[in-house]
Symmetry: C2
Subunit: 735 residues, 2 copies
């Protein structure tokens, strides 16, 4: 009986649930046949979104934001169907009262696994104990048997979603009656049927009333009255029909009529609600060693503290620091990645570890751990998050190399395997061996690196090349970190193939770097953003757009001039609600490559200390501040999934709009992709296209210049010029 | 730890499997942390096709045909990955040794369910006992991390599929070595690594050899020798490199090198292999009561037997009979669906049941059950399958109405609810109430109707309006029928919304009626066939194309004339390997509607007995025979999923080709959709486009006329004329 195998299907899950402690039902002819315990559940539920890989991974949501749920819900025959979504807070699969946890907590995940694998986590007392009751939200038909509803996870953490469906007896009856009346067919019997339905609802209301619900008591009386009218054949039929078709009857009956044979899609679909800062954030990357106010010194955490007001003033809320750990000396790289360093070359911060310590130590020249704590505290004062760079790799001088040689791969000649991408060799770096026999110890040590910095007040991490570490490790580690603090936010630096990038999103990375920098044309940019903002990707991956990083100086910025910097900044900051820049190099428009054709910076800060003149007259800091101010002032720009593209009759221009959830805030952006020539064209935009009332003319204000434009038609002329005005950020005025 | 919840993911399933009877691993720091038992499985497996609704329903396959399996398989880092599919015969979830079965069999499904829900069916001894060992087939990369392989289910029944993946240590090493050698990098250590890999493979071969495998013994020696060469630093490096890069080494090592840390996608994905006649069949629908050779008599089963040679001669292999049961008298419909019948009107065969019996009785005027048995036997003689019409509905005179009033819905006035689609009423039909308290008895009775006719030699059923009966019933019933005879074939007559049609396919219906008749243009037809022949639909639904049925006389046939009949026949018969016609009405080109705008036949056989002059000079029987002969002679036409459309520069024409699995048989079809005017155009077809060697000129033979055409280019001119030649069926000559 295939049914038995369908424990994910609605009917079959119901089958399983009702089997609890039951006798296998018997066929009347006494021939043993496995019937489902309730064969009268006629509604089928399929294609529940957002079930990621059949619910194997939690889909992404944001605490406090509406989360959409969709499903295909239908039944046999012509009866009307009703669908609701049910949701509740669920315990994280591995929840601990405190780091380490106590036995009960430790036992939990085992229990949860068993219960989940038995397909019954939802009903398990263990889970129930740790979670709330199911809340219900209506789902509305979208046509073609699709239904949609939304719920709002109120806290950060794990949620569960189910979809339920049943035959709507009343709606089925009322619509049938209506058609018959309109067709002049006799409805004597139909009125009796309706009267009985109302009576049944009245009884249910009565029952609710006894549970001390005043309103229900009134409703019960009213329902009984309406029922009597419909059943009273001595009354004139038209009057009874009016009652039968009344919205009052509809409202009351739908409120109380018991649901019969409810189908449920189970097991519950997991959803993880991240904190709002996972949705909306502006990152500023800065090397703390280059923060000295004169070029003679190695910058310190104290110098960094001095710069916090600047970073905040230009509108960023995350300050991301490349690795702050002791830097190895063996095979250290010199300036511009030279194989032979000069004696005073500081080396790359990503060559982590020396006899001064490893991943839980700070580079002495930056200061002490207390200085770091002071930086974190000062940043919090300024309303800034400190994001650390977690790069799980070691210099040959890293303490782990001596203490745990078993965590590295040995070569047949007894040496340790260095990093390589044949034929390239990176002898200053030893990768960790995730196939080591001692992987449990390794995993624990790596997790403890995160926990160490979390204990020092860091809740945001940029993870270096996570796709070169085992997925199973990340899966486990993310759970461990969330058990410590569900507010932790992880940005994955994985510039790799789509399946790999998205896998990291499924495993719990809150955000990921993207191909943004390599989308040079309006057409490519639109196609890419559309991929990122539609299912399945939108449910598992949150983009973070970076026009530049210390590793990425795209040809556009090398040759595009100021216009290119401004245009790419506006695109990153308004297309994606999460974006970042590699700071000083960006606002000072650093654009010389190490050599022609390279995306590496000349005199890259990765290999030397730089001095940045933030007061330079040509700095983009004022513009950046303006763009960030627009982001902070406009809810429309604080989401990514609400982007909507509009027609432009010029391929060099891209036009898109964003609207806030409450429709009160509308921002329209037009950007040029031509950094040499003036481009003009007609853009099509009507308020109605984004769900607002038709209105002509309407006024848009350019948030970059403060200018107002009155648009008298739905097609409007724009002219963009890389030297003067590479972009519009237009706010639709409502006053 | 999200891992725990991922029992469908590769890593996590592995996790589960290895936990069997194990202690929860402990972290070294003695802090209890749930680790997966094997954290070194680095390969991830996703998007396994054909998993239908996460494996809740078996995907469709055909015994003896290759079944494609695809998956996304990838790992962290840059290592090479290998993937294989594993398959095996599995017991049907509800398998019975004999009807009724014995306790052990009856117990089985319960066991299977538990084991499956514990995610471990594959390993369960219970299952293993009833199934074979896993067979393995290679999967080849398609790019973008997708892999594809095929297997051939050798019998009718249920199969299970898994996908396994692991890091290919040897290929990773060999490609790295190659790059280094080409770049002139020193490879001393790499050669040692390779030597060790070869040695490891040699050991494995040795072990295999001890298991008395002569070839393995040779291979072991050769591997040891190659290993020695690579490890012998006294030999010249070039020679050792040659060995290292040799395909011989590659072949030998890949054959024996032990796989480490193998990931597996589980639980197994179910696949149901139908008999080949579910893939390829030509149906002929005929009312047995209209088979008398003179117009004065009610036709009988014996008259039907007389017509079998004709049906066979024109090339059909399934003879489908509308219901053959006693017909009700109460509210019987007259000719042309008149509400008041004439005394001698025979009524509709779908108004099933009278005091002469119900669904397991035959209409006396057709003959006795013995006569029916004779018909089945004679049909088998002719190589014809008899298909019965299963219509689960009752006339008011059906014995069940008296014996089981509880199976019908009572109205408040005590009468039984008749069928209706408000405001329309069908008072000659009582629908069964699938919400009856006594649904188990009802289900059993309905199943027994199938079993009764199966006991009389029928293995093919056309099910009338299955979408108006509960899906849970069909799910159960199909399992019951397959337990009796897995060769049973069910055709679903569900003209309804896509989700509902496809659901029936998932529940096990072998074939389904389609919207073919309502695709009047070449563009619509192409789009529809492409939907049917690509995932997900192609994995769950097998179309059966009907140009006409007793319920469907499309406007095309009403007004299109002979050209329309021929064109629609060719489309149905060559686009879909399963097709059928409502016989005599089609070959005699019956085309008068009951009234303008209706798709009902005038003087429909549904309500009266008709006499058909099959010898009429204008009969299409000869053409039909030719088309069916082409189908039977050409394997290319015996599948549906191999259709491939080709460009034509005229929207009134449709051009497509089909190629057999072995590429030996190629058929190209061109059909006109204009039934009034001659249409001409250029069609683009090159043998290379269907995987054959480029060849010009090539010769195509029209299987309808026998003409040969030499095509000297890849664009060729065709001219179709509804009156003379509405279609080409061209066979690519290989001689």
């Amino acid at each position: 009986m295939p049914l038995l195998f369908q424990y994910r299907g609605a009917v079959s899950m119901a089958y399983y649930e009702e089997r609890q402690g039951r006798e296998e039902p018997r066929a009347p002819d006494d021939q043993a046949v496995s019937f489902p315990p309730e064969g009268r559940k006629r509604v089928v539920i399929e294609e529940v979104r957002p079930a990621v890989e059949c619910g194997s991974h939690p889909a992404k949501a944001i605490a406090g934001d509406p989360r959409t749920v969709e499903a295909r819900v239908f039944a046999d025959g012509h009866d009307r169907v009703r669908a609701v979504l049910c949701y509740r807070r669920a315990p994280a699969p591995y929840e601990r009262a405190s780091p380490g946890g106590h036995p009960k907590d430790r036992a939990f995940p085992e229990r949860a696994r068993r219960e989940h694998q038995s397909g019954n986590a939802a009903e398990s007392t263990a889970t129930a104990a740790l979670s709330q009751e199911w809340e219900e939200r209506p789902m509305k038909p979208l046509g073609n048997d699709y239904y949609r509803g939304t719920f709002i996870p109120d806290q950060v953490g794990r949620y569960e979603v189910k979809v339920r469906g049943w035959i709507d007896r009343f709606a089925t009856w009322q619509s049938g009656l209506g058609k018959k009346v309109d067709a002049g067919v006799d409805v004597t019997v139909e009125l009796l049927t309706g009267g009985n339905l109302a009576a049944e609802a009245a009884e249910a209301a009565e029952a609710a009333a006894t549970a001390r619900d005043g309103e229900a008591a009134e409703d019960a009386d009213r329902l009984a009255e309406l029922s009597r009218i419909m059943l009273d054949t001595s009354l004139p039929e038209p009057a009874r029909v009016d009652v039968a078709r009344s919205t009052e009857l509809e409202r009351l009956v739908e409120a109380y009529l018991p649901r019969r044979f409810v189908s449920e899609y189970a097991p519950a679909v997991p959803v993880w609600a991240d904190p709002p800062r996972a949705r909306f954030s502006a990152w500023y990357e800065m090397f703390p060693r280059s923060t000295a106010t004169d070029r003679l010194r190695h910058g310190t955490f104290h110098d960094t503290i001095e710069l916090l007001p600047y970073v905040r003033r230009i509108g960023f809320d995350v300050l991301y620091l490349p690795p702050i750990h002791p830097i190895g000396r063996t095979k250290r790289k010199g300036r511009n990645n030279a194989l032979i360093p000069a004696p005073d070359d500081p080396g790359s911060p990503w060559a982590i570890g020396s006899d001064e310590g490893g991943h839980t130590s700070v580079h002495p020249e930056l200061g002490t751990i207390e200085d770091f704590d002071a930086l974190v505290a000062a940043a919090r004062e300024e309303g800034l998050e400190i994001a650390l760079d977690i790069a799980f790799q070691c210099s040959p001088d890293h303490p782990w190399v001596k203490e745990h040689p078993e965590w590295f791969r040995a070569r047949p000649d007894g040496t340790i395997q260095f990093a390589e991408n044949p034929p390239k060799k990176y002898e200053d770096i030893y990768p960790l061996d995730f196939e080591t026999e001692h992987w449990r110890e390794l995993w624990s040590a790596l997790r403890d690196v995160f926990l160490f910095w979390m204990d020092h007040g860091v809740r945001t991490f940029r993870v270096d090349n996570p796709h070169t570490k085992a997925f199973s490790f990340w899966e486990w580690c993310v759970g461990e970190l969330r058990a410590r603090d569900p507010e932790v936010v992880l940005l994955a630096e994985a510039f790799t193939r789509p399946a790999v990038k998205y896998r990291l999103g499924k495993l719990g990375f809150s955000q990921g770097y993207t191909y943004f920098a390599w989308r040079p044309t309006a057409h490519e940019m639109r196609a890419y953003v559309e991929e990122l903002t539609t299912p399945p990707v939108v449910d598992i991956f949150r983009p973070n757009f970076w026009p530049n990083t210390p590793d990425i100086l795209h040809e556009i910025l090398q040759n595009g001039g100021r216009g290119a910097f401004i245009a790419r900044l506006v695109l990153a900051a308004t297309l994606s609600s999460n974006y970042g820049i590699y700071g000083p190099a960006f606002e000072l428009m650093e654009h010389a490559p190490r050599e022609p054709g390279s995306e590496e910076y000349l005199n890259s800060e990765k290999y030397e200390i730089r001095f940045w003149d933030r007061d330079a007259p040509y700095s983009l800091s004022r513009l950046i501040a303006t763009v960030n101010a627009a982001r902070n002032a406009h809810p429309a720009l604080q989401r990514t999934d609400n982007v909507r593209f509009h027609n432009v009759d010029n391929d060099a221009l891209l036009c898109y709009s964003k609207v806030s959830n409450d429709l009160q805030d509308v921002v329209l952006v037009v950007v040029t992709f031509d950094y040499r020539n003036e481009q003009m064209g007609w853009v099509e935009f009507s308020p109605a296209a984004v769900g607002l009332p038709h209105a002509l003319p309407f006024v848009v204000r350019d948030l970059l210049t403060g200018e107002d434009f009155e648009w008298g038609d739905y097609w409007n002329f724009v002219k963009l010029d890389p030297y003067d005005r590479p972009a519009h950020i237009l706010h639709l005025r409502r006053d």
